[in-house]
Symmetry: C2
DNA sequence: AATATATAGATGCAGATGCATGCAGAGTCA
DNA sequence: TGACTCTGCATGCATCTGCATCTATATATT
């Protein structure tokens, strides 16, 4: 006999709704903190961080795209802004004439350094300090499951 | 002596980063599912659902704003679209000449009914089916903690 | 080699968002 | 009642996003 009360399904729906609310709210607060400190949005940090990880050679846009899960046109314009602001540069790509390589500039490296204290403080006050180590670990485990398939 | 390896802090940072990634990704997929079915975005569902919960009298925009955590100007324009599309209506507010009441129309009620199967299926396939009941419950517990303060 | 197809990335346009500000009605206080 | 402030909501403007499409180069097929 089918479950008439559907309790499990309801709990999942509610958890889903809560996940959306909470994560949106957290993101908003952290973005606001960066803005208060006169810093660019989180997306800039994400891109520059990946470029730093990529080191000297830099990254092709499509590689960056996979890493940060950003739509192609979106990334294209974001890098426009970063290049325009002097935080990244486009270099010709030796292997593939269609594309180019994106690399961090010194200013970009510097921006990362300037953003981190503000970003870290925001993460801590909105997120880190609210969870115990064990809760953090449980959350990570669940996020791992959600990332499958 | 301060902890040089800073393992706990790192785990929190990584969990934070993962939370953003996963929730953004899930949201994107669910939105895409709605779009595939020719339905409006999630935000429309959220607003209409709150209006349905509010019942006959409807809701003041500022009340709605608190419930769905949407910026004021943002909600103002979203309701413009909903009214324009015939899913909600603005009624004069007897108690306060500055504002109005928002209420669901029959078409709005109908849209909710049409969206739900698609929305529910997307939640289930992107989220629900990936978690056991106990994982769901753990996630909810953590989200509760993150919602405090 | 010539043609067809696929892939990397940019871009025009429309719709959405953020910010600041405007405005009208409410509440307060003299 | 009149001046002052506050609150609810809208809106002009700039930026950002989504979608569709375009260009150029790369790859596959014959």
């Amino acid at each position: 006999m089918p479950n008439r009360t559907n309790k499990t399904g309801d709990a999942k729906i509610e958890t889903w709704a809560r996940l959306l609310r909470v994560s949106r709210n957290l993101l908003e607060r952290v973005e606001a903190a960066l803005k208060r400190d006169g810093l660019p949005p989180l997306a800039w940090y994400d891109v520059l961080l990946e470029l730093r990880r990529a080191g000297k050679p830099g990254l092709r846009p499509f590689e960056l795209q996979e890493r940060i899960l950003l739509a192609q046109y979106n990334l294209s314009r974001l890098t426009d802004r970063l290049v325009e602001a002097g935080y990244a540069e486009r270099r010709p790509c030796p292997d593939d004439g269609r594309g180019h390589l994106l690399a961090l500039t010194e200013d970009g490296r510097d921006l990362l350094r300037r953003m981190w204290p503000s970003y870290r403080a925001a993460i801590d006050s909105e997120f880190g300090r609210k969870l115990s180590p064990s809760e953090t670990q449980k959350l990570m485990a669940v996020l791992d499951r959600l990332d499958r398939d």
